[in-house]
Amino acid sequence: MQRRFLNRLLAAWVCSAAALAVWPALAAADEAPDAMVKRLSTEVLDTIRADKAIQAGDMNRIMTLVDAKIMPNVNFQRMTASAVGPGWRQATPEQKKRLQEEFKTLLVRTYAGALQQVTDQTIVLKPMRAAPEDKEVVVRTEVRGRGDPIQLDYRLEKTPGEGLGWKIYNLNVLGVWLVETYRSQFAQEINTKGIDGLIVTLSERNKANAKKG
C-alpha cells in the first residue's frame, strides 16, 4: 500500500500548492475557510493548466508563481516553528530567519516540480466539522483525477483583518501531516548537529536540488 501512497503523494503536492495561492481579495467579508480553500485550489489549477510555459516545465516561472501567489496565504513562521520544535525558543532571530528561508526553498522547489504534472485534476470538498466561532479548523478535500482520489487536508487559523481571513499552518497529504513529519527529521538533525547544523543541511540540500535543475 505504501507504493501507491508515494505515487499519489507526488500528484497531491500539486493541489496542495494550488490551495495555498492568493488572489486579490474582492469581498470585504471573510469567507468560510472551506469555501476559500476550494475557490483558491480551483483557480490556481485553472491558471496552471492555461499557462503553456509552466506546462513546458519552466522551473523559474513556476517558482515565481508559487512564491508570489502561495506564501501570503500560509503562516510559514508558525509552520517552521512547529517543525523545529523546542529548539525554536533557543534560536537567535538570525537563525530563525535562515531556517524559514531554507525550509521555504525546500518546499517551494518540491511544489514546483509537482505543478508540472497537472492535467485534469479537480478538487472536491468534504463536509467540514467546525463551529462558526472556532479559531482553528481542519478543511478536508479530495483530489480527483486519473487513478485513486487523493486525500488532502488543511489546518487553518483565523487571522481576522489579514489577507483572506484565514491562514494555513499545516497540510495533510494522504493521511500524513507535513509539519509532524518534518518535525522528526529536524529533531534528528538538531540532536546531532544543533540548529546551525540543521540550517547547513537544509541549505546543502537546496543547493543540490537547484543543481539538478
Binding site: M1, L6, T110, V176, Q188
Partner: protein
Amino acid sequence: MSDVGKTDRPAAGGFRRVISASVLLCGALLAGCATGPNANPKDPLEPFNRSMFEFNEALDEAVLKPVATGYQTVTPELVRRGVGNFFRNIEDLWSFVNSVLQLKGEAAASNLMRFTFNSTFGLAGILDVATEMRIDRQPEDFGQTLGRWGVGAGPYVVLPFFGPSTLRDTVALPVDKTVGDPVTKVEDIPVRNTLWTVRLIDNRAQLLKAGEVLEEVALDKYTFLRDAHLARRRNAVYDGNPPEEAPEPEPPAD
C-alpha cells in the same frame, strides 16, 4: 513438525516457508533493539530497521530501479495502465473479503461491484470501468482488519524486500501473500513467477517519479519513510478519520 497432513499444495509449502522466515526475522529483530539516549519510542528496532532499509535501498538501486526504468521506457503507457489495472483488480477482491471481515457494508459493496464490473466489462480487469462509473476503490488488507478489531500497530519494522511495515502488519503479511493473493493459486509455476515479476516491476515503475521527489524533499529518507508509513497506516485503519493524537504544545510565536 511431523509429516502427517503434509500436502503438495504450493500454497501450503509457501505458507510454511513464510512462517519460518518470520521466526528467523523475530530473532534478528531482538538483536536489533535500540538502546541509548537517542532511542525513539516509536522505533525501538531502529538499528535493525536501518540496516534492512540500507539493504532494500542497495537492492533497489542495483536491480529493481534499473529494470523498472527500462520497463517504463520500453512499454507504451496504455499497456502499462492495463497491467496496473489488471493487478489492482485482483487486489479489489481481497479488499472485499477484508471489508466483510471488518463489517464495513458500503466498502464491501463497492469493492465487490468494482471486481465484478472490471472483471466482466473491463476484460478481466484490464480496463478500469468501475472508476469511470464513480465506484471508488477502498483498499483493505488483513493488517487493517486486525487494526479495526483492536490490534495496535506495534513497533515499526522494515522487512527485507517488502519494505516498511509494523509488527501487526508483518504478522498479517503471510495471510495477505497466501490466502489473499490469487496469483499463488496459479498451478503453472513459470506463469505464476512471471505474474509476480511483472507485478513487482509494474509497481516499482509507478513509483519512479515519486521516488525522485522523495529524494529531494526528505532530509533523511529513512525517517521520512518511517513517519509517513506509520501515519499512512493509521489513516488507513480509520479510513481517513483517525482520532486526534494529543497535539504537541506549539512553541510561542515570535
